[in-house]
């Protein structure tokens, strides 16, 4: 038991030091910042992807609506209806783009 205590006491007195604390601190902080930046970028990409998908869906929906009108009522297409649908869809898309721009500026 005495020998055990002696070894433990000797170990307590032993001190260990990092080779270069300033460099270690700087390097670790760089790694931390790099990791944070990569997480932020991933989050931004996901949000952008989601908004772009929604935007594309809205962009394509009036086109299919117009096609339907032309196919079904080739003789007398109601241009008012077509322009109303297009205006609403593109208006919504515009709002979405503004929202996307704001979102990106908040994240950066």
């Amino acid at each position: 038991m005495n020998q055990l205590e002696t070894i433990i006491e000797k170990e307590k007195e032993t001190s260990y030091s990092q080779r270069n604390k300033e460099l270690f601190s700087f390097y670790t902080l760089t790694l931390i910042n790099q990791e944070q930046a990569s997480r932020k970028l991933k989050r931004k990409l996901w949000v952008s992807l989601l908004l772009i998908t929604a935007g594309l869906f809205l962009l394509l929906s009036p086109i299919s609506e117009m096609m339907n009108y032309f196919i079904l009522n080739l003789s007398s297409p109601s241009m008012v209806d077509i322009f109303t649908v297009a205006a609403v869809s593109y208006g919504f898309l515009f709002v979405l783009i503004v929202f996307l721009k704001q979102r990106i500026s908040i994240l950066s």
């Binding site: 032993t14 990092q18 670790t28």
Partner: protein, 163 residues
């Protein structure tokens, strides 16, 4: 001098540069803990301390300021050590046949490393924290998320092995 808790608060509100002070404050402590747990493997000890700082920064928001930052950091470092040992073992078992033996650069008090050699990884951790760092049983139980009774019996078993 700012306390650890103040530095944590400032890191969360003002940015990571305040965390640099905490890194410098505990770099030697974590390196020493790593050296003791890895029986003097300098490279592994450095890896453990770096991983512990990175992990602690990631989970800094979850730090409870009622507790000591040093204890919280110690718990994270011990988990990093366990992860690293697991990875090392997997790597060694995968490459044992293909690669020549790697001899790590060992430094420190050889007597102590030889003393704790017969202990399991878990026992090494508990023994070191109790007898070298003089943590109380309830503190060890708290920082390792274990029951006090379990910690106590594991330390007794480790002592029996060493006698």
């Amino acid at each position: 001098m700012e306390t650890d808790e103040e530095l944590v608060r400032r890191t969360l509100s003002e940015g990571s540069h305040h965390f640099g002070v905490l890194i410098q404050r505990y770099a030697d402590y974590l390196f020493g803990l790593g050296m003791r747990l890895t029986s003097g493997n300098k490279e592994l000890a450095e890896d453990i301390s770096q991983q512990a700082f990175m992990k602690s920064y990631t989970y800094l928001k979850s730090f409870n300021s009622q507790k000591k930052f040093k204890h919280w950091l110690t718990g994270i470092a011990v988990n990093c050590y366990k992860d690293l040992i697991q990875k090392e073992n997997q790597h060694l078992s995968l490459n044992a046949k293909d690669e020549p033996n790697y001899t790590p650069h060992l430094e420190g008090n050889i007597d102590f490393f030889n003393l704790i050699k017969p202990l399991t990884e878990d026992e090494k951790i508990l023994f070191t924290l109790k007898y070298v760092y003089e943590y109380q049983i309830n503190e060890i139980a708290d920082l390792l998320n274990q029951k006090s009774g379990t910690v106590k019996s594991k330390i007794s078993r480790a002592l029996e092995k060493l006698k």
